[in-house]
Structure formats: C-alpha cells, structure tokens
Symmetry: C2
Subunit: 134 residues, 2 copies
DNA sequence: ATTATTGTACTAATGGTTTAGTACAATAGG
DNA sequence: CCTATTGTACTAAACCATTAGTACAATAAT
C-alpha cells in the first residue's frame, strides 16, 4: 500500500458514549474540517482500513461516509476512495442559503428555550470566533 | 373545568415526519417560548387534556414534559399542572455558561463542515435577530 | 486481462426507543 | 374528609436504529 498522502487523522470511538459509531465518525470528520486538519481534496481513510483500525464492520464506516456524501461534504469513488469535496462548488447558492437558515434557526430556538437572547449568542460567537478562523 | 388562563396553544403532530411525538411536543414548547407565545409562569395543557387533543397516550405527553423539566424549562406539580419556569433563576451561572458553550460549539462545527465561516453566521444572526427580539 | 483496491448491497440479529394500556399516587378545593 | 384533577409507575408490544456477516461490484494499476 503506497502512501497517497493521507493526512494523519486520529479517529477513535467511545463505545460507552451512547453515540452511534457512524455518528462519531461523522462528527470527527466535521471537526477535522472545522479546524483545518482536513481540507478540499484530502482523502479519508479507506472504508476497510478505518474499519480495521477501529475494529468495526466496514459497513459502519461506509454508512458514515455515505451520510457525509449526502450532505455534500465528501465525494466517494469506488476503487479510488473518499475525498473532501469542495462545497462552494458542490452546493449551489440556494441550497447553501437553505442550509444556513435551517441550522441557524434550530440553534436559535434551542438557545432561546434555555433563556439565551440573540445578542448573547452573537457576543459569544464573536468571542470564540478566532479559535475557528481560517 | 375552570379556565385558569391557559394560553391558546395550537399543538399538532405529524405522524409521517419520523420525529417522535414526544420530541415534537418538546419542539413546539421550545418554539412557543422562543417567540413569546409562552413565558414564565404560563401553564401548559394538562397531560390528560393534551393527550386527548392529540389522540395519544398521556404517558407520551408526560414524557415530553419530563424532559422539559429535566432541562429546567418547565416545573411540574402533581395536582396543579406544568408551568414554564424561570430559567434565569433555575439555572445557575456556571451551568448556563456550559450550556451556551455546548450548543454554540455544536452549531459552529456543523455550520463549518458545510463551509460557513463564523462571520457568515454572525452576519446571518444579526440579520434575522429582530424576528426573535424580546 | 488479471489482480488488488476501493466502495456497495443484502440480510439478519441485536438492542434501544417509542408508544400505549392500565392502574396508581399526590395535590387542590370544596 | 371526599372528590376531582393533576402527574406518575410499571409493563408490554411494536417499531426502528444500529451493527455485523457475507458476498458482490466498480475502478485502478500492472
């Protein structure tokens, strides 16, 4: 197996967390993108290799990758692998807008029910924003 | 049954949505709080009456109310009813801060994986903020 | 072409979630 | 007290989500 330039990603599963394995994988990919350990074009571990690594069934990894693909976050090609896609190209403007609306409203509603105001949310975002800067 | 001042709340369930009934109830309460149809001290429909209304089992309503109580959003008293609690009092400052961190980070991570930057999120929040103003 | 590598399909087992049935317990109010 | 009203406990059935087992299919590399 030749090294095709996979970034060193440390996946790990917590069996006791109650979070399904495939969701843990999705989360870890999302987080890796968020803090730039992964970027456009980067290859994810193959379904098999990650399955062996984590000692789970290949289908479980495949399921995670599938959901990521449905969301437009990765692209998979049989025989080649799974890669981080370029969302600015993959998602058109309208869908991007819809997505932004959807996740933001869910966030506001939840925060609101805990008594947080929009202003508090904005303040906090501005405060911790630098940690996520690109 | 005397009218004890229940606000007119229109609960409704979508059986086909795939979202469990009890979660739909929780969401509708959260949304009602978010846009001020419900506020501190307001009474929710009784477990029984809402169950009859929605044609589901009382335990399903009770479960929704229980989760809301665990989250500190409502207070229930047997024989009396279930009421919106005052979260600024119920949640201490530390827990409030933890909650803010938790839900905000989840929001950022998800948004980020879709290619949204913090600045976009802040802009959008400021844009739609007025709709949620108290 | 042949082989190794990649993802995929289909099935079944397990286990947890969700809901309802039924009966109970606590409080309020006369 | 007594009764109506409120939430609760316990059980079981149905459902669905998750994972693994196993075999297959598509592509790449030689």
């Amino acid at each position: 197996m030749t090294d095709i330039g996979l970034k060193r990603l440390e996946f790990s599963l917590d069996a006791k967390s109650g979070v399904p394995y495939y969701k843990q994988i999705i989360l870890q990919v999302e987080m890796a993108i968020a803090d730039r350990r992964l970027g456009q074009g980067d290859q994810l571990p193959t379904v098999r290799s990650l399955a062996v690594d984590l000692q789970i069934n290949p289908n479980t990894v495949a399921r995670a990758y599938n959901e990521l693909e449905i969301r437009g976050i990765v692209t998979t090609q049989q025989g080649t692998g799974t890669f981080i896609s370029d969302k600015q190209i993959e998602l058109d403007h309208v869908k991007r807008e819809q997505m932004l609306t959807e996740i933001t409203r869910a966030f506001i509603t939840k925060a609101n029910s805990y008594g947080f105001t929009i202003d508090e949310l904005i303040d906090y975002l501005q405060e911790i924003g630098p940690e996520y800067e690109r």
